[in-house]
């Protein structure tokens, strides 16, 4: 632990937070981690390392604030819990959003010295959410381009009946697209930090309210993600039971 702390302090001395060199190094780290996650999301293994719940803390840890990554990862996980890749349909790209948002918010929090607080997380989501839609569009384009790999494999089958190397080439575009966007997100972090620093107390309070609303919507999305007509009923019963138990335990009427 002491060694890690010393290494971090040495890194900070060489690359002071918020400086261009620091952003560049952090951007490269974010690009590599998020790029691998993008590959894992659909094309390889699918161990769920690309889910926001895992990618947020993992990327946060790589950038120096795992807890900040968790602050972002859990609500994003719940918001996208119902997004399922069924047949040819594509859900919004939660991995790209989680990667970019964690990168920008963790670096902004580090530059401010406050970590990722709810107003910062709300600002990051407000500004970066469209990336989930952009990611879906990019994924569709990638799949269309994979048609060329299919044709290549078919044309080459006489020469080489093992198409594994061609199959793996399908992983390149998701890696590159996500890595580039997450690298860019590192350079967005100073803007995010400046926006957060300029928030007056009432604005910060309102943004905290927004983050609570995001959590509420995430809970609603999670209930909806259980695609069973009895799910809302079970959720309602559990909701009521939890409230009653909490009120009883706290000694309120």
């Amino acid at each position: 632990m002491a060694l890690r702390r010393r290494a971090r302090l040495a890194c900070r001395a060489v690359f002071p937070p918020g400086g261009l060199a620091h952003l560049f190094v952090a951007g490269v780290v974010a690009a590599l981690v998020a790029g691998v996650a993008a590959v894992e999301r659909k094309g390889a293994l699918q161990l769920m390392l690309s889910r926001p719940l895992v990618l947020g803390p993992l990327l946060g840890w790589a950038l120096g604030d795992a807890q900040g990554g968790l602050v972002i990862g859990i609500p994003l996980e719940l918001l996208f819990l119902g997004g399922v890749n069924l047949g040819g349909s594509l859900p919004d790209n939660e991995t790209l959003l989680a990667g970019a948002m964690t990168t920008a918010a963790v670096l902004a929090g580090e530059a401010r010295g406050t970590g990722v607080d709810p107003p910062l997380a709300a600002l990051a989501l407000l500004s970066l959410f469209p990336l989930a839609l952009v990611g879906r569009h990019l994924e569709r384009r990638t799949e269309d381009r994979n048609d060329a790999l299919f044709e290549l494999a078919f044309a080459r089958v006489e020469r080489d009946p093992d198409p594994f190397p061609i199959n793996l080439r399908g992983l390149v575009l998701p890696f590159v697209a996500t890595a580039v966007i997450c690298f860019a997100a590192a350079f967005f972090s100073p803007i995010l930090a400046a926006a957060r620093s300029s928030c007056s107390l009432p604005v910060a309070s309102a943004l905290t309210g927004s983050w609570h609303a995001v959590w509420a919507l995430a809970a609603a999305t999670a209930i909806r993600a259980v695609r069973d007509r009895r799910a809302p009923l079970f959720a309602l019963a559990s909701f009521a039971a939890t409230l009653v138990a909490a009120l009883l335990l706290s000694g309120r009427p």
Binding site: G88, S210, F234
Partner: protein, 250 residues
Amino acid sequence: MTAARPVAKRSLLRVFFRSLFIQAAWNPRGMQNLGFASAMAPALADLHPDRKARIAAARRHLELFNCHPYAAAAIVGGAVRLEEEVASGGATSQDVSMFKSSLASPFAALGDGFFWLALRPAAALLAALAQPYLGLFCVALFLGVYDSIHLGVRGWLFATGYQKGAAILEILSRAHIPAATRGLKMGAAILAGALAARGVLLAAEPHRPGNGVLVAVVIVAGVVFLPRVGLPVALYAALALGLALGGGFL
């Protein structure tokens, strides 16, 4: 008809490993065909020393194929078994194609229902609910619960598909997967309800019941309107509502 020539164990392991990349080059025309053909290649190399026969086998596995990526392991295993029979003259290449096309859809439905719509929500909600107590270890909880089941089932499907061939369908029909799916979904719904209640309680603290009511309203509105308005609209509406009414949160 000659005696079936089994695929070497090492090749079977390579087939299984490659089946983990079945969606690497998913494409609209052949869907998972490239991944499937890639996975089969080590087995085909064992079974068809004759290059022409190997090329013909590789070509037929480039036909359209689409299934749930985990459940596809059973079909890959079964296809290896059938290819052994094709090599020994006990089955025809059409039998392999028929096996793949007839099982792909039911297995996809089974896999989607169990993994995507039941196990993943249940594991994620369990981790989210455990986060205040476990901190960062909730991530390990999620991965431990999900991947121990996922990898176990994936390996079992592949091995059983290889051992039983077409009989895998009968074995799966006795595995109580729909019942397990229903149980997991109900468990996930209960966890989601508890999580929603925790959100309300946290917002209402300290002594701000109005904030709790605001969060509860967003939850109810989300459950009711989400399917109609979609996530982007719902998210920005929630953010805007929070901004407008959330002045007392700090």
